[in-house]
Symmetry: C2
């Protein structure tokens, strides 16, 4: 999906074709955010003024690349798990037997369809942690980009959250539902607070 | 820039090359958000259940397309105005004369470099207004996508804001600086409040 042009991605997103949807778009927005963090890292490496933190930045850049690659894979993965879900929704449900069969297939598809956006949210949280480091150690000339990067990762996390909830909402397995939703809540709590703090820090630096 | 693949866009964003940077990325994230709103519109049109609002939705889709096209143009525009700014920063400033000449060129470049992200923020605000309509009139099956779309537009607005401030921060023309910053503040105030309200509404629907 990401091999196509950026214009095509926007075009396909706006169309009524089932994928990409909000889940894949969230993974992609998270990757864009993390890429801005990496840009700050790449602008810092090799600068005499930041020689002391160079090794740390190189380490951060490696971690950032892992997150970007994970999120790129999750764009594709989100499209993959949507297919069986949409098939399940389309099954007949006239007779009692059909209803039971449909429900079973649907419930199975919901598990993966919830786990993928949860995984997107996890990677967005990691991206936010990495932005915290870029804010501390990265070059000051690109400080606004740390703020933009982290606010994209926050929005991507919030987008992933809605895509978890739309699936867990109709999940019958209450134990799994609770497990996924409580993990999500923890990710959201930490991620949003940290992202807001970094953004406000950057904003404060630009307003002072 | 958007003719290249989505993978390349992420790659170029993460590199130390000057463009695309946080401003262009914000315009692009806003276009992604608006595209999700359009997706909801396209999923609504032609459905018997939503026959009554079909004309409104078609109108919304037209307005959404304008916003997407504006934001796509602003990705390129942001790169264009960055060039003279980076040239200005690179001018010599050893003698008093050079300092004065550099300052004059820099101050001129700052005007455009502030106006472009302000224009991005304006379009994100319009995108948020349109999401309010999609939330009211769009198909319920894609309600999560309205929430994802609007939260992307909010982040894009916040990203654009930092790119205005990094330029107005060093602007000498105090009247223009105040004018731009107060317009930005108004856009932010309305946009953030409305975007949060829509997101929370969607979240509430998914949690109930």
């Amino acid at each position: 999906m990401l091999e196509k042009s950026s214009n095509d991605f926007i075009q396909e997103l706006s169309s009524k074709s089932p994928v990409p949807g909000g889940g894949g778009a969230s993974a992609y927005a998270g990757a864009l955010g993390m890429a801005l963090g990496s840009m700050v890292g790449n602008l810092t490496v090799g600068k005499k003024k930041y020689k002391e933190v160079e090794d740390d930045i190189i380490e951060l850049l490696k971690k950032s690349e892992v997150v970007i690659n994970n999120l790129k894979s999750l764009v594709a993965k989100d499209a993959e798990v949507f297919y069986p879900l949409s098939q399940a929704y389309g099954l007949p449900s006239t007779t009692e037997e059909e209803k039971l069969a449909k429900e079973a297939v649907l419930q199975e598809a919901l598990v993966e369809a919830s786990m993928v956006p949860l995984e997107i949210a996890k990677n967005c949280l990691e991206a936010i942690h990495l932005h915290e480091e870029y804010a501390k150690k990265g070059t000051r000339i690109a400080i606004s980009d740390v703020g933009v990067g982290v606010i994209f990762c926050k929005a991507a996390l919030q987008g992933a959250k809605l895509n978890v909830l739309i699936n867990t909402k109709i999940m019958k397995d209450q134990e799994l539902k609770r497990k996924i939703e409580s993990e999500l809540q923890e990710i959201e709590k930490v991620g949003l607070m940290k992202a807001d703090k970094i953004y406000q820090q950057v904003e404060g630096m630009l307003l002072s």
